[in-house]
């Protein structure tokens, strides 16, 4: 596989160094069998890689393309489109804070500011210890419990600023 979409030297090195885990490769091929065309398994393939590595390293893009037998650009284009595909390392726990209208009306901005103050990072950043990443998210569909957040797979709401320290204790 000589192809690469990476433009910077570091990304190219990362690309060369990356090898798909055999189990992941197997899982991607299994996904491919679920659809009439291999491109359809692209998003799921990215999610499989992300599950193992926490994010999708640059080198995974040509590896997925090769596994599915589709163009590198077709994988890269998808990988940069979707908000839940992370192209940079994230913390062990990603905190998604709902910033849509119902949570806005139930004081999400106060909650967001409290998270920023408590963790000492801005939205989009990761704590120095690699524990948490803060990101905004579309309406989490639990508006009767606003303001809501999703940590990993756990939905919490309504969350008040004072309970942030206790809430985060469960996420080592």
């Amino acid at each position: 596989m000589n192809q690469t979409t990476a433009s910077s030297t570091t990304a190219t090195i990362a690309s060369d160094a990356f090898a798909l885990d055999p189990a992941d490769r197997e899982a991607i091929l299994e996904e491919r069998a679920h659809y009439p065309y291999p491109q359809a398994a692209c998003i799921e393939a990215l999610k499989i890689v992300q599950k193992r590595h926490g994010h999708v390293p640059d080198g995974a893009i040509p590896a997925i393309a090769e596994t599915l037998g589709i163009g590198v650009a077709n994988v890269e284009g998808v990988a940069t489109f979707y908000s839940l595909i992370f192209r940079q390392p994230v913390g062990r726990h990603v905190i998604l804070i709902c910033d849509s209208s119902s949570c806005f009306l139930t004081d999400y901005e106060e909650l967001r500011n409290a998270f920023i103050a408590h963790l000492g990072i801005q939205m989009g950043q990761t704590t120095a210890d690699g524990r948490f990443t803060l990101l905004p998210v579309c309406c989490l569909g639990a508006c009767d419990r606003g303001p809501t957040i999703l940590i990993g797979e756990d939905l919490h709401g309504p969350v008040v600023p004072d309970e942030i320290p206790r809430l985060l204790e469960a996420y080592a």
């Binding site: 679920h34 659809y35 009439p36 065309y37 491109q39 359809a40 398994a41 692209c42 998003i43 799921e44 990215l46 999610k47 077709n74 284009g77 998808v78 489109f81 979707y82 908000s83 839940l84 595909i85 998604l96 910033d99 849509s100 209208s101 119902s102 806005f104 009306l105 139930t106 905004p136 998210v137 579309c138 309406c139 989490l140 569909g141 639990a142 508006c143 009767d144 419990r145 606003g146 999703l150 797979e153 939905l155 709401g157």
Partner: protein, 446 residues
């Protein structure tokens, strides 16, 4: 997590077809219990008594209108699907990408009663001669994904899915597809692109998905709540469905209505279609102490703001449509008197700007521009002419200017907020219009 605020004893099969089986403890209704309570009876009846034509006619005459927000007749949509012995069988896709701000109904149905959705999809698949169903579920709905996966496996093991469904000779299966974020995936043609593993840019119509959808085959996309209404229609008939809303609405059936914002008891209720906003706010216990209701969105961020006086109207597609707003998803978002319309509108337009897929220029460039103007007004640094510019933008983002309804959806709260609350926007103007930086270039000199 979200709750039906009617107790189990209040909900009955004849009057609450969507929620009557739900448990007060919110645990999912599993196959054995679902079967015991008329579950999959509609599939049995369908296989014995219906052809795909008569089935579509039944749903059409029930006047089941799309619960995802557009309100298009589901039966009519099905009647437009290319089908017949000489047409390749295509797909039935459930739009479970619930991301409309203020909407929390589909999550509840999927987490607590996945078999009702599966049964509805089997019937819709039969009516449209689909060979395969896909549930397109947003990636953040982990609990719904688990409930659906289990239910699909159980239904398959019990013969309701797979080859030769219940010995009928008809093959049909459903797969779960989970997304990876982005609101635009809820737009039906963008959803199809996403299902195909591509960027979720909408497609030009025509061709409509019913002619050429997923992988070029006839494809029908229906919302979760829409599909959950189908088994009841098959079991009890179109007349029963129409009668559920009685004199309240010409639209048939019940609706999962809800309220969020600063009310005492935010939540969900299954009520006859055409129930008034006042009744729903009353069920929610009214506004929290010391607050009064200033404005409300009838069904999500892409619907237009209304005033307290509109709460006496029937919440159905046509009645709310006449106000210039839309019923949308029918889940109310209420705004209290101490909350700023300018700030809320800014928040909504930030959402739409971020979630634009970037395909069409008015949407990609117009929405961030509106955010810039709204932020200035919110900070009290607006210039004279800003409001008129926002109004112009709302017109230029309207229907027909872009591939899909994302930009028109963004324009609706913007235009209506200015229309009803212009004084709040005017208070943000503190500066006269900035001086032009250069003399205009004379016509003909370029």
């Amino acid at each position: 997590m979200s709750r039906i605020l009617q107790s189990a004893s209040e909900r009955r099969a004849e009057t609450h077809p969507l929620t009557w089986r739900l448990h007060d403890d919110q645990s999912p209704v599993q196959l054995e219990e679902y079967r015991r309570t008329q579950g999959y009876d509609a599939v049995t009846k369908m296989l014995e008594q219906y052809t795909y034509e008569t089935l579509t006619e039944e749903v059409k005459s029930a006047n089941l209108r799309g619960r995802g927000g557009a309100g298009f007749s589901a039966g009519f949509k099905w009647s437009l699907t290319m089908k017949g012995e000489d047409v390749p069988r295509g797909y039935i896709v459930c739009n479970a990408d619930e991301m409309e701000p203020g909407t929390f109904k589909d999550r509840l149905l999927m987490e607590q009663q996945p078999h009702l959705l599966i049964e509805g999809m089997i019937i819709a698949g039969f009516a449209n001669r689909s060979k395969q169903g896909y549930i397109f579920l947003r990636g953040e709905y982990h609990r719904a994904a688990a409930a659906i996966q289990r239910a699909l496996a159980d239904a398959r093991a019990d013969g309701w899915l797979g080859a030769d469904v219940r010995g009928s000779g008809w093959d049909f299966d459903i797969a779960l597809h989970t997304g990876a974020g982005r609101y635009i995936c809820g737009e039906e043609t963008a959803l199809i692109n996403s299902l195909e593993g591509k960027r979720a840019n909408p497609r030009a119509k025509p061709p409509f998905p019913g002619q050429s959808g997923a992988w070029g085959l006839p494809t029908v996309v229906n919302n979760v709540e829409t599909l959950c209404n189908v088994p009841g229609i098959v079991n009890h008939g179109a007349d029963w469905f129409q009668a559920l809303s009685g004199d309240l609405s010409s639209d048939g059936g019940t609706k999962l209505y809800g309220v969020s914002g600063k009310v005492r008891n935010p939540g969900l209720w299954e009520l006859p279609m055409g129930t008034t906003g006042n009744r729903i706010i009353e069920l929610a216990g009214g506004m929290r102490d010391g607050l009064s209701l200033k404005s409300w969105l009838p069904g999500g961020g892409s619907t237009g703001f209304l005033l307290p006086e509109h709460l006496e109207l029937a919440l159905d597609f046509d009645t709310i449509g006449k106000t210039g707003s839309r019923m949308g998803t029918g889940l109310l978002t209420v705004v209290a008197d101490n909350q700023s319309m300018v700030s809320l509108t800014r928040n909504l337009e930030e959402f739409f700007a971020r979630e634009s897929c970037g395909w069409c220029t008015p949407c990609r460039d117009g929405l961030p521009w509106s955010v810039k103007l709204l932020r200035a007004l919110e900070a009290g640094e607006g210039e004279s002419g800003d409001i008129e510019l926002l109004e112009q933008m709302a017109r230029d983002l309207g229907p027909g200017k872009t591939f899909c309804a994302h930009a028109p959806g963004a324009a609706m709260p913007l235009a209506s907020a200015i229309h009803y609350f212009r004084d709040e926007f005017e208070r943000g103007i503190t500066q006269s219009k900035g001086e032009a930086h250069a003399d205009p270039i004379p016509v003909g000199s370029v």
